[in-house]
């Protein structure tokens, strides 16, 4: 197996009570790769993403990130700490931004490094650089509530980048935004790939972004990957009727 696999998902199953949402997913994401995951709501795409950093506990199967391999199932005390170690390699951006309203923008970005016990002076410099990268250096002292949705999501991206993660997870990052604000978030995400060669897993319906940035796309259907391939293959020549129907609906 390639040494440069950042994320390896093997035999992943996830049930909520009697409802099996993910029914056997295997994926490997190479370093620097951008994978777009799409599919109907309820197809299990977000759940797979949330299992990668154990925001949801996999019912079965294993997750490996940066060489840390963990099985699903019950969390013992030791496993809780292993999960935390794994999470330090994974940045996550949520649909609802989930910025901390009790902190300034800068403190939000500083949150992860500070919690990891890094010294403040150099970390503050890096945090300001990250805010500059997402175009919000002038908002460092503001509270998130004073920012637009697009700005909040860009801060959330900077906050996740401050962890210096090996992979970034994006869970429908533009779905909660007004249409005119999605562009600024998508262009920041694109720059992460072009400038930083960041490894990314992106759940999104933005097919324009997928076509432009993704190396690979995976279409989820009923808890499984129905079809996988390059954007060109999937968008222009989908093999399955379900994929075609879905693309017709969103394009």
């Amino acid at each position: 197996m390639s040494a440069d696999v950042v994320v390896r998902i093997a035999g992943l199953h996830k049930s909520f009570g009697h409802l099996e949402v993910v029914r056997g997913v295997d994926m490997e994401i190479q370093r620097g790769e951008v994978v777009v995951i799409f599919g109907r709501s309820g197809s299990g795409k977000s759940t797979v993403l949330r299992c990668v950093n154990f925001i949801e506990d996999p019912t079965e199967g294993s997750i490996e990130v940066s060489g840390i391999r963990l099985q699903g199932g019950y969390r013992t005390r030791r496993k809780r700490e292993q999960i935390r170690q794994l999470r330090l390699h994974v940045g996550m951006v949520f649909q609802q931004f989930n910025l901390f309203p009790n902190m300034t923008v800068l403190d939000n970005v500083l949150c992860a490094p500070r919690c990891a016990g890094e010294s403040t002076a150099e970390v503050t410099k890096r945090a300001k650089e990250l805010l500059d990268r997402v175009g919000l250096a002038d908002k460092a002292g503001e509270h998130p509530i004073r920012l637009s949705g697009g700005q909040q999501q860009r801060v959330a991206i900077a906050r996740a980048l401050a962890m210096e993660p090996d992979v970034m997870l994006f869970d429908e990052p533009t779905s909660a935004l007004d249409p005119e604000l999605t562009g600024e978030v998508l262009s920041v995400m694109k720059s992460l790939s072009t400038d930083l060669h960041m490894t990314m897993m992106v759940v999104t319906h933005e097919m324009g972004f997928a076509r432009e940035v993704a190396d690979r796309m995976a279409f989820f259907h009923e808890g499984r990957i129905l079809e996988e391939g390059t954007p060109k293959e999937l968008i222009e020549a989908p093999r399955h009727a379900e994929t075609r129907a879905f693309l017709d609906a969103v394009l």
């Binding site: 940045g91 949520f94 309203p101 009790n102 992860a112 919690c115 996740a160």
Partner: protein
């Protein structure tokens, strides 16, 4: 339809229209003035001795420091217990969850005055009998569970209010959106970092106003401590009113005086609490600005005073 009733209803109509021009708040103030006047008239008829109050108010107010010490220590204990209890109530640890559930159930399920007597009079025999039963216990253990009245009362207040406030704190913690905890988890925070930096600061915004109400209620419940027979020297205001009222046979004046002191304290603390409430809302939502401006225009809004019991 008789002309007489027509004139009557016309007059009533004019009265209503005239009344509509007087601000509502002015009318409410007038009602308060009338109520106070009625009470004053009643007091006068009952030969209310204001001179006696003037002579004895100083002594009664001397108990304020004990009232406040009991209330402040009681609420401090209650806050600590409520914090621990609420964290236990949201934990998956069966021991923590079970102990907290037992605590809340018992102290919400029995009267405060019974809890006071349990601590004051029911604990000492436990210490005595244990000391007799187990010789290996350290010397003086037979006296270890003997508490003085003020201490027993304060601890009982703290335990009792802590049980109610456990539920307030738990609801406050659970009111923090789930996405906040997920974001903290995703950033690799430990449980204690997540609680200290993200969840609790947001929960306190919800918890502080009802905690203020609990403090005001507890301040009034400090009067119950007097039933445990506090010594005259360290008596709080209710005990003092009782003592001088009985001594001079001025029960009417004594109890009215002490009631007015509690009422005044309640109005005072309610005022501080509403100011605090406005302050902590800052920085959270845009509607706050609108509300703050509206509140500024409504200053001096009369409130009935008093939190829930």
């Amino acid at each position: 339809m008789t002309p007489v009733s027509d004139t009557l209803s016309d007059t009533w109509e004019r009265v209503q229209l005239a009344s509509a021009r007087v601000p509502f708040r002015l009318k409410v103030a007038a009602v308060w003035v009338v109520l106070f006047a009625l009470l004053a008239f009643l007091g006068n008829a009952a030969q209310f001795d204001t001179q006696w109050i003037r002579d004895n108010l100083r002594y009664i107010l001397g108990g304020l420091r004990y009232t406040m010490v009991i209330a402040v220590s009681g609420i401090a204990l209650a806050i600590v217990l409520a914090l621990l209890g609420s964290l236990a109530r949201i934990s998956r640890n069966p021991v923590a969850y079970g102990v907290a559930g037992f605590y809340v159930s018992f102290f919400r399920g029995t009267p405060l005055i019974v809890q006071m007597y349990l601590l004051y009079l029911a604990l000492p025999p436990v210490g005595r009998n244990l000391a007799l039963e187990y010789q290996w216990l350290p010397d003086g253990f037979d006296q270890a569970l003997v508490l003085d009245a003020a201490t027993a009362g304060t601890i009982a207040l703290g335990l009792n209010y802590g049980a109610y406030m456990t539920e307030i704190f738990r609801a406050g913690i659970q009111s923090v959106a789930g996405g906040q905890g997920e974001a903290a988890d995703a950033l690799g925070m430990t449980y204690s970092q997540k609680m200290r930096k993200v969840v609790l600061p947001q929960a306190f915004r919800v918890i502080i106003p009802p905690t203020g109400n609990e403090f005001i209620a507890m301040m009034k419940d400090t009067a119950l401590v007097s039933f445990l027979g506090v010594t005259a020297a360290s008596a709080e205001i209710f005990r003092r009113a009782q003592l001088v009222g009985k001594h001079d046979f001025k029960n009417l004046e004594a109890y009215v005086a002490v009631a007015l002191v509690y009422w005044g304290l309640t109005v005072l603390f309610t005022f501080f609490q509403s100011r605090l409430e406005k302050r902590i809302g800052r920085g959270y939502d845009r509607a706050h600005v609108a509300r703050a401006m509206q509140a500024a225009g409504e200053q001096g809004q009369p409130h009935g005073g008093g939190g829930p019991g």
